[in-house]
Amino acid sequence: MQRVVVIGGGIAGIQASLDLADAGFEVHLVEKSPSIGGHMAQLDKTFPTNDCSMCILSPKMINCADHERIKLHTYSEVESVTGEFPKFKVKIKEKARYIDLERCTGCEDCVAKCPVKVPSEFEAGLAVRKAVYLPFPQAVPRKVTIDADHCRMIKEKKCGVCKKVCKAGAVDYEQKDTTIELNASAVVVATGFDLMDASSVLQYGLGHCKDVVTSLQLERILCASGPSSGHLARPSDGSEPKRLAFVQCVGSRDAKWHEYCSSVCCMYATKESILAREHVPDIESTIFYMDMRATGKGFQEFVSRAKSAYGVRYIRARPSSVQPGEGGKGVLVSYETRGPAGEPVTEEFDLLVLCPALVPSRGTAELAKLLNIKLDSDSFVRTSGLLRPIDSPRKGVLACGFASGPMDIPDSVSQASAVAARVAELLAQGSG
């Protein structure tokens, strides 16, 4: 059986793995965090149908874990790729998670007793997790991981509570990283994106105004299984916001930061403002935007519905500054519109949401280097022009999803499925 290594376990990597495996390949899916799922797992709903994101994703995650031709390597990273198509040698480092995966039952007894609290990555910093943790309830695999940077036992040899309470005997503080080596016919890069740090765009107040959050944080706040059980509350005083605003293109379409358009923010801000209204019926949402890019199926209708049925106000303006409101609560947003009403305005909002540039995920440049592939001028993986939109110039190394440029979930899924066709084609040509 021919083998393919897929790097990245978000929706693109998951879909690529499933289609490759269904087409008969043996797939090794490498994910650097403890669970597959990626950013899609963090979203509350998906535009434009407002389908629950986890509900449609989790069956695919389980299918990955259950598929007889897919092997998951979570908490793992690709260390090297040598050789050439169709005979690559791939080294995968499985990082020590200090847990025997064969033994861990995912009961979380250890989590309950662990004394160390760390900001939760999954909850976008809005809640804490423990040093031994399951990233989220639907995590695949459902196995805990000890975060060595924060575990007192590993750092200072003081504690050991998790080992004491684990009935399965799964905790192993002496565990070491292991490296495995595989032969593979092809390698797929599906490493997705991260949010840029919006606090570096100083005029928008993230970090110095309490009631400024990122759009990913708002997803978690709105989510019924999020840190506030879906109750929309602002950080400064926990009150329910009545005036909500979004700033688009924070750090994107901006020569100072990232010149490209992140492609999905117009639509998710529209979605989040609709969802906010469903949580707080008298909330008023305002979206500050440059161009309203609603180019996908049903998107324009979604924006129209946001305006007509949910009272969302769209203002074409780029706010110039954001200051804390009175007593550090709420925000004062200064902006100027063109046209007849073109006066500088300062307006008060209870909660401000920033839609930051979505950038190639951390580690993309290093991965490109070890794969010997190039990045484009915006630091996404460069593919071989129009005719080969998912092939990198190195034969047998493919890229799909956000790793090769901003795109929404359906486009990521299409590209991921396309991988299975390209790999099959390349191998059929290679053999005949």
């Binding site: 389980i62 879906g230 492609s263 046209g339 486009d411 066709a421």
Partner: protein, 563 residues
């Protein structure tokens, strides 16, 4: 007596915030046949599934009811868990207490809990009568058919043929290439269309697995995944092909804006494709004004056609290259240059001297003839004043629209289209290139307007999906098919007339005429069951007895509630 297990899901807070899960659980334990009832925070998590599996073994369950979310996404998961624990998957019953209860009755927790109890009682009553079923299996014809020879269809066909799969490409016109034949340069990176198409066509014609049928029209499609039969007319000859999978890549047309902005009466007003033809010949000079969103993003045709801004940006830059001194203006409502490359082209156009004027739907531009050219009057929202632009040529950027014959294609394949006539995929988020009908796939602008680059990866995606049943070699059909009770059947033929899949015929059975269902073709829609006046038609998993038991349970629950 059945040994039924009931599992109630909290779905985090999704169900538990409106439904009192403990109360439903306690109630479920009282229902006839229930020997075990449990609950999970997330039944679909690995932990939830393994608790279901271990309970099946521990309590020797032979029927499983899960009260959770929707079978659309989660039924396969729970069925698989049952199978893994040794129970036939048709002994599983799904009760939806999320979409049908907690989400729609979020603010009425008491009533929601009562409704959840009733639905669980109905599920349990049905589960007691479920029977194990065996799924039908059929061999797959190892052949793929692609409808449409534009860029998406060509990509799909050449990929499949390149993978070694026999592939027939059916194109209604006399040439391959579709709309791209009229385009010389493809944005945003300036690749040439002709060599790209020629390369793709030559790969297909060179492949011994590729078969091209030009001037061909499909007349009929029958069968099901793995075993379709297509009848088509090629030139004057009627032909038949058997195929395992079908890809729809029938594309879209450029909307002709008759009467808009002087199109048809002012000679200087043309559409984008006409500009492409002139650019290919180098036959363009003078000042050019583009008007975006002509015939779209307005009442009646609300959608954004996705590619028009990028086409205009590309052509504006080409015009400036061909005649550097000319004035090129793009009148738009929003510039839709999403992503990296398109945004770079937008920036380049701004820096190269293309003028951008923003208009609003309330105050659209006006075009009038002036000599050989035209004058465009437009209220510039940024300047807050009306301006006049002289133009040798006015280019109307109109949307891609679904071609008139897509309705017929949809009917032949029994696949749905959206309100704009574009084909409707199985799931807008996660199944963009599949139809809900197994074995039929979609790509390119037949689904939604797309760029050349998107056509290519969607064509590949459809090819990958179509290759899967062909590589697998067999298809399994769900055991929810209809069957006739020969003794009760009067051979009236109502079922034959009602069946949308032509799955039923009246034949001699046991010495009399009676209905016979072809299980391989039956989709389990149940229409024939409803149409049968004699109660002779039944459907596996939905028998009159099973549905009657559900209604009894509901009425019994309602009576108890009233007391």
């Amino acid at each position: 007596m059945a040994r039924i297990g009931v599992f109630i899901c909290h779905c985090g807070h999704n169900i538990a915030s409106a439904v009192d899960v403990e109360a439903v659980l306690a109630y479920a334990k009282t229902l006839p046949g229930v020997v075990f009832a449990g609950h999970n925070i997330y039944s679909c998590s690995q932990e939830g599934l393994s608790s279901i599996k271990s309970s099946i073994k521990e309590h020797q369950l032979d029927r499983v009811v899960v009260a959770a979310c929707t079978p659309r996404t989660h039924e396969p998961l729970f069925r698989k868990a049952c199978e893994q624990a040794g129970i036939n998957k048709y002994l599983f019953e799904f009760v939806n207490i999320r979409e049908h209860v907690s989400w729609i009755h979020a603010k009425e927790p008491v009533a929601a809990t009562e409704k959840a109890k009733k639905l669980v009682a109905m599920g349990v009553a049905k589960a007691a009568l479920l029977q194990p079923q065996t799924e039908g299996e059929a061999a797959v014809t190892p052949v793929a058919v692609v409808l449409g020879g534009g860029l998406a269809g060509l990509t799909a066909a050449s990929s499949l043929a390149g993978q070694g799969i026999e592939t027939h490409l059916i194109e209604k016109s006399e040439r391959l290439g579709g709309l791209l034949r009229d385009v010389s340069v493809i944005g945003p990176e300036g690749e040439l269309a002709k060599p790209l198409l020629d390369d793709m066509i030559s790969r297909l014609t060179r492949s011994k697995h590729g078969h091209i049928h030009l001037k061909s029209t499909v007349k009929g499609i029958s069968g099901f995944v793995g075993n379709f039969e297509l009848t088509f007319v090629e030139g004057c000859d009627e032909k038949k092909i058997k195929a395992g999978a079908i890809i729809v890549a029938t594309g879209a047309n450029e909307f002709t804006p008759v009467g808009d902005y002087g199109f048809g009466s002012v000679p200087a007003v043309v559409t984008q494709l006409e500009l492409e033809r002139r650019l290919a010949k180098g036959d363009v000079a003078g000042d050019v004004v583009f008007i975006q969103c002509v015939g779209c993003r307005q009442p009646g045709r609300e959608y954004c056609s996705r590619i028009c801004c990028n086409v205009s940006l590309k052509n504006a830059l080409r015009l400036l290259t061909l005649s550097p001194g000319s004035a090129v203006t793009i009148i738009h409502r929003d510039i839709m240059s999403s992503g990296t490359a398109a945004e770079r082209v937008y920036k380049e156009a701004s820096e190269t001297g293309v003028r951008f004027v923003r208009y609003g739907l309330e105050r659209p531009p006006k075009v009038s003839a002036e000599g050989d050219g035209a004058v465009v009057e437009v209220f510039d929202e940024t300047l807050d004043e009306t301006i006049e632009l002289d133009a040798g040529l006015v280019v109307l950027a109109t949307p891609l629209v679904s071609p008139p014959d897509s309705e017929e294609t949809g009917k032949l394949l029994k696949v749905p289209r959206d309100k704009h006539g574009f084909f409707l995929e199985a799931h807008v988020k996660l199944r963009p290139n599949e139809f809900a009908t197994d074995g039929v796939f979609v790509c390119g602008s037949a689904r939604w307007p797309v760029s050349a680059r998107e056509c290519i990866y969607q064509g590949l995606a459809a090819a990958a999906k179509a290759s899967i049943p062909i590589r697998e070699g067999k298809v399994v059909s769900e055991a929810i098919t209809a069957y006739a009770d020969v003794d009760k059947c009067a051979a009236c033929g109502n079922c034959v007339l009602t069946c949308p899949y032509d799955a039923i015929e009246i034949i001699q059975v046991k010495g009399k005429l009676a209905a016979k269902v072809n299980e391989a073709v039956c989709k389990g829609c149940g229409s024939c069951v409803a149409a049968c006046p004699n109660d002779a038609m039944q459907q596996k998993g939905f028998t009159t007895q099973q549905l009657g038991a559900m209604i009894d349970a509901l009425v019994k629950g309602a009576l108890e509630g009233a007391q």
